[in-house]
Symmetry: C2
Amino acid sequence: MAVYTEVSDEELEAFVAGYDIGTVSSFKGIAEGVENSNYLLRTSRGQYILTLYEKRVNPDDLPFFLGLMEHLAERGLGCPLPVHDRAGGALGTLAGRPAAIVTFLDGMSARRPTARHCGLLGEALARLHLAGADFGIRRPNALSMPSWRPLWERSRARADEVAPGLGADIETELDYLEARWPKDLPAGVIHADLFPDNVFFLGDRLSGLIDFYFACDDFLAYDVAICLNSWCFEQDLSFNLSKGQALLDGYTRVRPLSEGELALLPMLARGSALRFLLTRLYDWLNVPPGALVKPKDPLEYHRKLRFHRSVPDATGYVFALGGRAFEVSP
Amino acid sequence: MAVYTEVSDEELEAFVAGYDIGTVSSFKGIAEGVENSNYLLRTSRGQYILTLYEKRVNPDDLPFFLGLMEHLAERGLGCPLPVHDRAGGALGTLAGRPAAIVTFLDGMSARRPTARHCGLLGEALARLHLAGADFGIRRPNALSMPSWRPLWERSRARADEVAPGLGADIETELDYLEARWPKDLPAGVIHADLFPDNVFFLGDRLSGLIDFYFACDDFLAYDVAICLNSWCFEQDLSFNLSKGQALLDGYTRVRPLSEGELALLPMLARGSALRFLLTRLYDWLNVPPGALVKPKDPLEYHRKLRFHRSVPDATGYVFALGGRAFEVSP
């Protein structure tokens, strides 16, 4: 939950007057997103989300994020559509911060995702990958494999405060992944943070995806691996094979995975688990004084990482062990 | 900002099905209120606020709060109207907590109230007092004068940790107020927490009042004193006489104050400042570990209390010192 920047009435009115969306009738901070300040903005014309981009977002990346949402929405993917101001731009300044208004997306995130949710998520993720193929802006993944060691160096000295032996285990994993990380899998625009919080459902269907502020270019199957980590484990951190199968079934119905992607899925899942372990570990060890946001438990991702080490290939993520139940590209 | 209780999709759907308000299309935690969990609920029929009552609210008081909102709304006061469920009740249970759905109120609180806002607030407060006169349920003020000493006893030993000499000053003030606290001023339903956060404006008008969860029976002028404290001081804690005058002007246009109320206004303002000083002091000294809400500074109300000691009577709160600019009842 997060509302970091306060906006005065005068500033808000002046900002909204720059758009052709009517006059403000309500403006409420919402408990959504941890990186930015999000407000529900109601006007005489409709309902919108107004986002103030806080310090963790690089303003230079905003044209990529906003352009991507627009690109995907135009191709029929459910996602917030940035509203252009009267001068034609999608990015403004409010209360000293970069700010944007996007359309309001109906739907709710699944607090306890089921296999059915995982199937819909898999389909939507594949549609995102296909729709992103002709997006014109590039953004390298700032949190891809080469970033992990420098990130690790910043937590290394204190890692064993979190759990004895954690440091040595991360070292070993880093050595392993650096030596074997793939170089030539199919790549393109990925969401890179498609946790259940960022996917909305409405009745029987998936209504849309939000929070594109980690989106970047990377291996498409790495995005699948991030979702296996964030959608298919139970609260006790056991892996749910039905959910894994549903996710891969859904994905491969829209975009079949290659033999190479399937073989490397456990490695990508280990890498993705390590990425979230490292960022959470850093946040855990560096909670600012007076922080209003509770850091997330890094050890959750250490447990997930250990699970993926036991998986030989993608069949390890499906119910029908050994017999493949999902589409493989020829 | 506050969302304390997580609600599962199934629980929410089952709860909403008990009302004739359509099906859920969106459900977002909002950063409003510090005592309860508030959600913005959108359905196929409209927009509502769903509140889960957390531990600080006594469930036995909920019929008073919800009944009062309904009573006031029926008399034309802008405030959320509790929605009745199919069985006719306004109070249900969700995620193990008492819960209610109220209508959504357009408008925004004034982040920096002006004298104009104070005038509208004064009028609305007086209208609330008049509209509440025939409300049938009684609720003694749990935070009135007799409660202050027991509350003080719980912080006394550590008060000087917050500011040297604070303890002795509070002792003196308590003795003074206990000896002189009035017994026979006009009384009735008061809001008791009408801070700027709880008052919405829309363009030129005041659109409504929210958060009736401290409402109770007490001296009507005590509610005026609470508003003088919460609306008429600047950020540097100097008292703004134009705002004081606007508030009293607005109030007395609707409900003139008696000579007795006017004479005792500084005492009521001291009492109200002490009440907020004491609750904030307790919260400040007792922040639970892992708390997501920052405690408010108790010393703000100590400064305000000291200002009121210098005020001889209600004319001290108005611009036209000496010459009274507001209505006095005959």
